[in-house]
Homo-oligomer: 239 residues x 2
């Protein structure tokens, strides 16, 4: 769908991608691994609980209650807190560490590799995720994601939606903010990017929270583009 | 050549690559473009002069004489200084900016893409260069270099040989220093890496300074590996 009054997009040089939910299916990946290894656990509820701790944990860092912390370490703090709720309080250190690395093994949505490969022909493609560099690198390597560069909150030492992350993409690549487009499945992320002068493209990920809980993916005003997936986005951008 | 008393290299997870001279032929690339566009200039001497300003410029930053500065900006300062020596003082701003981006268009040595592609199957492969992220990203995109991650002095906000750069690779990827191997064509870079507990592999680049000025590429003690090029390195590491 093309939204009304689009601005010309000819001068975009860089596409920056949100990762969790936009590029990778965190819910399905976590639920599948939990169902395979811990069949007595409600794998859907477990995935939801783990992810639900994410924004509050980042807020504790941003308010100064916690020092600067990588997402791998926040994921581990949340994991340790929720394990007892799922009858897994007995898990030993090695098993917890292995489970935490599940975030390094998330599967990409099926359109991602083809879409990125096409978009890469014309644009610099990079991540802009709160995930740390190690997580993003290992996840991308496993899934075969052809980024030109991996940018992370870790590089800017602050999480999205801090303006320094969105503005940081433009300054890193020596371009004006309007020459960068954020691609994400979350309207709040895209609105924050637009607030910094970036362009925005919304991607529909109706099953981000699993098939039990459909997500509203209807278009909202403000986004320059709205696409069903990365292959459609590539076509829309002439790739 | 295998050096004496090699340590077992089985536990290496990450290969970090120096870029200028090791991955890309800065001298040949600059000399070719200068010869094509400014035929009256001694293109060899021009390439040498531009690169010769690099270490002194970084020292001015590290001593605090200059604030933190990206390599693109140091390259431009050096360029502005040397242009009059080559009869190019008349170049206008746009032409100087275009010339400075020559560092984004350096050609890789012919073995690099094949070697990296093979090494990537088994190791996390990343850059560790004083070049800034924009320079490294655009150079790598143009040359088709399949990095898993681009790390730069810019991420650590200090240049090699500061220990925070070498140690930073290990901490970024959550591994011990001895699980990282620096690959470089410069013994001083490799020695500094070893001082931080990293492994080291020397790559012969006899024409780094052009064919008029052969470089001594004989093995030195201390390096775990010494290879003619990246394809030989891949074979040596079982890829």
């Amino acid at each position: 769908m093309q939204l009304p009054n689009p601005q010309p997009l000819d001068d975009i040089q860089v596409l920056a991608f949100d990762v969790f939910g936009t590029v990778v299916d965190w819910h399905g990946s976590i639920a599948r691994e939990m169902a395979a290894n811990y069949p007595h656990v409600d794998s859907h509820a477990f995935a939801q609980a783990w992810r639900a701790g994410y924004q509050p944990a980042m807020r504790r860092v941003m308010t100064g209650e916690l020092p600067w912390t990588l997402i791998d370490d926040l994921h581990r703090m949340i994991l340790d807190r929720i394990l007892p709720d799922f009858g897994l309080a007995h898990l030993a250190e090695a098993e917890r560490a292995r489970l935490n690395r599940l975030w390094h093994r998330l599967d990409a949505w099926p359109d991602v590799v083809e879409g990125l490969t096409r978009l890469k022909r014309r644009f610099v493609i990079c991540t802009l995720s709160n995930g740390n560099l190690n997580l993003l690198t290992r996840l991308s390597k496993r899934a075969g994601l052809p980024w030109d560069c991996i940018l992370s909150a870790e590089v800017f030492r602050t999480y999205k939606p801090d303006p320094r992350t969105y503005g940081g993409v433009a300054s890193t690549f020596g371009v004006r903010p309007e020459q960068v487009m954020l691609v994400a499945a979350h309207h709040d992320d895209l609105a924050a990017a637009r607030g910094c002068g970036l362009r925005s493209a919304y991607i529909e990920r109706p099953w981000e929270f699993g098939t039990r809980q459909a997500k509203d993916v209807s278009p909202q005003l403000g986004n320059e583009l709205h696409a069903e997936n990365f292959v459609v986005l590539a076509a829309r951008l002439g790739c």
